[in-house]
């Protein structure tokens, strides 16, 4: 084939077992290309010159180009390093592993970077970005970017999507039937006989040649099952590749135990398991593509990993472009601190306890992306600490375009009508970027983050506290009462303010004073701050419900927001809120709300509620054998284990409360513990309604229901 030039999109990159890099490209004429490309990769080692000399001798003759260079470490400044370049990128992990094993005392750099991140930084072509490429049909000869990752309206590749679902949750019941949807057609195949099913699936893959396979339980059941029982079946577009399986694991992150199921990754097309992709339910395919575009992580990685991996990948890209070394293992430990220094500086954001009770005509003002905005505006980065007038640091330079793009997307959303067809895509994209911005602050203080430093983390919270105090003083100067402040938002009211226009001067004044964007989230017709359950006199931060002037509800910290609330109870609480929202003051609707509660409790007592609505969902906080007391979750876990299901910490378990305890299978109506569900409804109702009326009036309604 003669050399041809095409325009299209870079979809993904990976390495074949031979070690060569392959680019998956989609050209505008609809053709899919899997083209190998020359892409040498380099890693570095630093340390004592004597050991470096030995390392040189160790690598000599192993197909590695070696040289001595001087490069910049963000924390140590310039360092003499041994540079090792490999022509085949797939060989780097093994070469690095052997060298690190032989010379553990050396510091290694750029040794464990995701291949796609290296590629994007090296070629300037973002994943999912439009590009021009040249090929002779065998290899990729040239590649130029036509679009940046920061394009506001990026062109989208015409993707072919195939959806595969099974008729049961495989952890509980073996699936019997598989449903495949593609190109507006729906196919149903029995799983057995397996040979017939595999032949049909392979035929559909050949006919439709999908770019994305969206599954339910594809990671944890379908592909492992097919790999075991039909080893000759290959769902990859690249026939030289096999499905890559990664093991399941439980981990502790963000203060909770998380479970990550096994993963099945494809080559030349993507596999996304809706049930095993952390953010997919929230951001969908559009958000996943946006995340891959800005982070440089492949789509399959981006949807399965936490946003922290995304922000790390972005920092790596900045470092690679600037020629800054990326340590394989973080070498900086926190400096010794005095107790007084810790007490003074090791504090989080400012939280002002709310004034408990009902408030009318309240405005909520938010600092837009406060922590990232502080990092950019005040140039907070590990290398700029304690320096005046330092050039923009690595972290601010990474965050700046992300911040600008998200604010622009948000602005665009505000200008569109809610019914506009572009709204859902814009929302998904801005949510994907929001998650990256949310975690960037935590990663600054995370002990294992490559470019983290706890003092920078503390600087951000110190500035945020100061800014929030400035906002409070500005509001008080203008005669407002501060009802509540929570890290980056404040709730205010004044006797004479009713509409958004009345609060805008305050928002503008705070923005002018602090230099950080302030948005008016909205004006509440009424807002209720709730007290602690243990003592009605103690206020609790970020626990409230209210209704905006346009009738939209907002609630935080109540049962409705909790994942372990069953649908029946959640729906009851939502209906109570909707009932209260009909009035100008929620206290006026109190009696009607209790009428509704009465109705729901009665229907439980008459066993009229649907069983599906009573299903509880609880995340297992530890492995089943580690439970000392037989809690409901522990009982459910043991029942599943008895049925041969592998249960791990962080998994989400589903069960019902029954007269005997709990049941993981749907129970018959006479087995359900209806009184227990009635108590849950009453508790959820009391959570909202107790604060609205004095005790004696509550008892009049509450006590008869308990009988």
């Amino acid at each position: 084939m003669a050399r041809v030039e095409k325009t299209g999109w870079l979809m993904d990159v990976y390495t074949r077992p031979s070690g060569e890099l392959v680019c998956w490209l989609l050209s505008e004429d609809g053709q899919r290309w899997l083209l190998p490309m020359d892409f040498p990769v380099t890693f570095y080692a630093a340390g004592s010159l004597a050991v470096l000399r030995q390392a040189w001798r160790f690598l000599r003759g192993r197909g590695v180009q070696l040289s001595r260079q001087v490069r910049r470490d963000l924390f140590h400044g310039e360092r003499v390093v041994l540079s090792a370049t490999l022509d085949l990128p797939g060989r780097l992990p093994e070469t690095y592993r052997r060298l690190a094993q032989a010379f553990p005392v050396l510091d290694y750099y750029d040794a464990d970077l995701p291949l796609s991140v290296r590629f994007v930084a090296g070629t300037q072509v973002p994943l999912l970005g439009r590009c021009r490429f040249e090929t002779d049909g065998q290899r990729l000869l040239g590649l130029q970017p036509l679009e940046s990752a920061w394009e506001m309206q990026p062109s989208l590749p015409p993707l072919r999507v195939m959806e595969i679902e099974c008729d049961a949750e495989p952890a509980l019941h073996p699936p019997q039937e598989i449903v495949i949807r593609c190109d507006r057609r729906c196919y149903r195949f029995p799983l057995q006989p397996l040979r017939a099913f595999v032949v049909n699936l392979q035929a559909l893959l050949g006919t439709y040649d999908p770019d994305v396979i969206l599954t339910r339980y594809g990671d944890t059941w379908l592909f492992p099952f097919l790999s075991e029982h039909a080893p000759s079946f290959n769902p990859n577009r690249d026939e030289q590749m096999k499905v890559e399986f990664r093991r399941e694991r439980s981990l502790f992150a963000y203060g909770q135990v998380l479970y990550r199921g096994a993963q099945a990754l494809l080559f030349g097309r993507w596999h996304i398991d809706r049930c095993n992709a952390a953010l997919f339910a929230e951001i969908g395919l559009t958000g996943a593509l946006e995340m891959a575009r800005v982070t440089g992580l492949g789509v399959q990685e981006a949807v399965r990993k936490s946003p922290g991996a995304g922000i790390t990948a972005m920092q790596m890209q900045t470092a690679l472009r600037d020629g800054v070394l990326i340590p394989a293992v973080k070498q900086q430990a926190e400096a010794t601190r005095t107790l007084v220094s810790l007490i003074r500086y090791d504090r989080g954001g400012m939280v002002y306890q709310p004034l408990v009770g009902v408030h009318r005509h309240v405005a909520e003002l938010d600092f837009a992306s406060m922590y990232p905005a502080i990092m950019v505006r005040y140039n907070i980065s590990p290398e700029t600490l304690y320096q005046r007038d330092a050039p923009a640091g690595l972290i601010p330079r990474t965050l700046q375009p992300l911040l600008v793009k998200r604010l622009a997307l948000k602005h665009c959303l505000h200008t569109l009508d809610r019914r506009d067809s572009r709204v859902s895509d814009l929302k998904a994209r801005q949510t994907a970027l929001k998650w990256l911005l949310v975690v960037c602050f935590g990663y600054l203080g995370y002990k294992n983050a490559r470019f983290g430093r706890v003092e920078s983390h503390e600087a951000v919270t110190a500035i945020s506290r100061e800014l929030l105090l400035q906002a409070k003083e500005n509001a008080e100067d203008m005669g407002f009462t501060i009802l509540h402040m929570y890290v980056d938002s404040l709730f205010v009211k004044r006797e004479d303010t009713r509409t958004e226009a009345d609060f805008l001067p305050l928002a503008e004044k705070i923005q002018a004073e602090t230099g950080i964007g302030v948005t008016l989230e909205g004006v509440y017709r009424w807002l209720v701050f709730l007290p602690a359950c243990r003592d009605q006199r103690i206020p609790v931060a970020n626990r409230y419900f209210g209704v905006f002037e346009d009738g939209t509800l907002k609630y935080r910290g109540i049962a409705l927001r909790r994942h372990d609330t069953c649908p029946y109870v959640a729906q009851t609480q939502l209906d109570i809120l909707s009932c209260l929202a009909q009035a100008d003051d929620p206290r006026e609707q109190w009696k009607e709300a209790w009428g509704l509660v009465n109705q729901r409790v009665r229907s439980l007592q008459r066993r009229q509620a649907a069983i599906e609505g009573l299903q509880m969902a609880v995340k297992l906080s530890r492995d089943p054998q580690a439970f000392r007391r037989p809690s409901a979750a522990a009982q459910a876990a043991r029942q599943l284990q008895a049925e041969g299901v592998a249960v791990r910490a962080g998994m989400r378990l589903f069960f019902w409360f029954t007269q005997q305890g709990v049941s993981v299978a749907p129970p018959a109506a006479e087995e359900v513990d209806w009184d227990h569900y009635a108590r849950l409804v009453l508790r959820a109702a009391g959570e909202i309604l107790d604060v609205l009326q004095p005790v004696e009036k509550k008892q009049q309604y509450y006590l008869p229901l308990l009988k």
Binding site: E334, L339, V340, L342, I343, R344, D346, R347, G348, M350, V351, Y352, Q353, G442, G445, Y446, K447, V454, H457, E458, R465, M485, D535, R537, I538, P539
Partner: protein, 94 residues
């Protein structure tokens, strides 16, 4: 995350737990008053935290005093209104 020092809410809760024997020894009526005092400190968690004190309970005591002062000021205002009303009634202007 980089937080090493426990939050101010946790520190106050721990102090309250330490005071349980003290509380138990009080008369039933006094226990309710103590609970009210401790609860009032929770309204000023941000200020107690901002004080950066080595012993945050000192700042918590100040917060309790502040709440007492606020209560006294509110009662004084009520008394003033009542007194004005009494004077008005006595002078036959009611």
């Amino acid at each position: 995350m980089g937080r090493t020092v426990p939050t101010i809410t946790r520190q106050l809760n721990e102090t309250e737990a330490m005071l349980q024997t003290f509380r138990r020894t009080l008369r039933r009526g006094d226990q309710a008053l103590l609970d009210g005092l401790l609860a009032s400190a929770h309204r000023h968690l941000a200020a107690i935290s901002a004080s950066g004190a080595l012993l945050p309970f000192e700042a918590a005591l100040l917060a309790m005093l502040l709440e007492q002062a606020r209560r006294i000021a509110a009662l004084e205002e009520e008394i003033r209104i009542f007194q004005e009303e009494v004077v008005r009634l006595r002078d036959g202007k009611g």
